[in-house]
């Protein structure tokens, strides 16, 4: 059984031709990935594999998948831990929600 990402030939509805404005965090997701690649810490193939393994693949946007997959790889390679990412993300969100 092929993965959910392997969707060539599947039925599909009309194509939404709207273009959303790229957000800064999405630019950052791109940048982190190319920087990690340039350092030899991550390859395009590893990123693809990690994206394909996401259980909530269909619920995430393109850059959400990139971010989730990058996190998965960094944890897998023992560069970061999930706990410290959780902690820091929560701190950042608290900071953003302050008036």
């Amino acid at each position: 059984m092929s993965g959910v990402h392997d969707m060539g030939g599947s039925p599909g509805g009309p194509i939404d031709r709207d273009q959303h404005e790229v957000e800064d965090w999405e630019r950052l997701a791109d940048a982190i990935n190319s920087a990690l690649g340039a350092r030899g810490l991550q390859t395009t193939d590893e990123l693809r594999r990690a994206i394909e393994s996401l259980e909530n693949y269909r619920d995430l946007s393109y850059y959400e998948r990139w971010t989730a997959a990058t996190e998965r790889l960094l944890v897998e390679k023992n560069i970061l831990t999930r706990e410290e990412i959780d902690e820091r993300a929560a701190e950042i969100e608290r900071r953003w929600s302050r008036p």
Binding site: S2, G8, G9, T43, D45, E46, R49, E52
Partner: protein, 97 residues
């Protein structure tokens, strides 16, 4: 296995687990080798941090759309090209199904 342009090939209906770059919709389908694109480290192994060596040949393989889809809308000449690694192909006798 090395192929020449024009060779008739079939995509293996393999269900091997893990990261692959051969889409499901092509498995078991027949087409022809259009050209050799080059040799690349195997992405199926690079995906897990392995070296991916030795390099594998990547072929541009052509398919008649009418052979891929029962309900294809368009003339018989419409076609699809996909880049497929050598280890996903097997030779096929012309005229077989």
């Amino acid at each position: 296995m090395t192929y020449e342009p024009g060779d008739h090939v079939r995509v293996l209906p393999s269900e091997k687990p893990g990261h692959v770059r051969t889409p499901d919709y092509l498995k078991g389908k027949s087409g022809w080798v259009e050209s050799l694109i080059g040799a690349f480290s195997n992405p199926e192994e690079l995906a897990y941090g392995l070296s991916g060596l030795p390099e594998r040949h990547l072929y541009k393989v052509g398919f008649r759309q009418a052979d891929l889809w029962n309900d294809y809308e368009g003339p018989a000449e419409d076609r699809l090209y996909v880049d497929i690694y050598e280890h996903w192909l097997e030779p096929e006798e012309r005229g077989t199904k």
